[in-house]
Subunit: 212 residues, 2 copies
């Protein structure tokens, strides 16, 4: 028997290179009830990007207005551009039992905690070692040595916030980490605090007892 | 990669006849790390019962002494006899990463919450309907009509406390309910608050970054 429930705000965070993208991609591919949160950004649209799919592209004025009106759940400035999570779309999905996954760092997570703690489940993914992380970053051949050095420096800061997450998983086996993440999501869906019409069912049972 | 962790105090509660015993028995049979909490009782030992296995059989004086010394996690009086959970054995198991399942009612659960909330995971099992519950109780042929009527009256009181549990599962399919319960236990084992040496691993990662 399944009851109506609220959706889950699933945060998967990790230092760059620890496997977050692979895990999130797999979850999204296997789970029809889960979708990626679409961020708002003030940076220019790149070729091939679609407004509302890749990002909600907005002007700085629009961003400022939304922030001042409390319409953003979290925001951050990265290299002169703003990134944010619009509140309305997330609220709507959670209310309708749709689960949303967020790709945000510890500062974004902290901002979400302030407004939505009981809707959130947060997972921090660690690499098995920095040697392994370093070789994954080099193996991707995406970044210069300088960028990799900056990523490792950021990794240290991110890792320092491990204790703010509900789960900390060491990704030494991608398939196992995906399986664990899937189970965490499944169990979060069963949680009593997310059920929205259990009390009606309880009343029905109690009436049945009275009528015996 | 697995870390040392604290054990879990797993409470599975339900009105009589909703399937708790079948679920608990199956979990215990399939999971070597899980064992049943052995209660203390002041009632006389019955033929075939073994002290320390079925119950810890104690005199009323011994019970009173333990209760006054704070050595009991919870206790209840049922038909002139006392039943209780000794604190020392549970503490030892939790410390050593062993999970313990408790067969207690909402009042026992409330007492455990006062002392051990963060170690606990609590599941309340509901029948799909009272008609179903009634027919299960009659089908067992264990109880007189009078006893069944009392069990149903008690069921109403137990059910009234549904909102005090972490999970509320409707047992309309025993295998599915067992699978859900198993997953809840597996995910509880992954929870960050139960890991006891993650901070050491984090320090190791951060040292590795510093040494690069």
């Amino acid at each position: 028997m399944n009851f109506k429930r609220k959706g889950i705000m699933l945060v998967i965070a990790s230092p760059s290179g620890a496997g977050k993208t692979s895990i999130t991609r797999k979850l999204l591919a296997c789970d029809n009830n889960l979708s990626m949160s679409v961020s708002l950004t003030t940076r220019p649209m790149r070729k091939g990007e679609i407004d509302g799919i890749d990002y909600h592209f907005r002007s700085i004025d629009e961003f400022n207005q939304m922030r001042d009106d409390g319409e953003l759940l979290e925001w951050a400035k990265v290299h002169d551009n703003y990134y944010a999570t619009p509140k309305a779309q997330v609220d709507e999905m959670i209310k309708n039992g749709k689960d949303v996954v967020f790709d945000i760092d510890y500062q974004g997570t902290q901002q979400l905690y302030e407004q939505c703690r009981s809707d959130m489940v947060t997972i921090f993914i660690l690499p098995p070692s920095i040697k392994e992380l370093h070789s994954r970053l080099k193996g991707r051949a995406l970044d210069s040595d300088e960028v990799i050095a900056r990523r490792l420096k950021n990794a240290k800061i991110e890792i320092d916030h491990w204790a703010e997450y509900d789960f900390v998983l060491v990704n030494d086996d991608l398939e196992k980490t995906i399986a664990k993440t899937t189970k965490i999501l499944e169990v979060a869906r069963l949680s009593r605090i997310r059920q929205t019409n259990l009390s009606g069912f309880i009343k029905q049972l109690q009436n049945e007892i009275d009528e015996l």
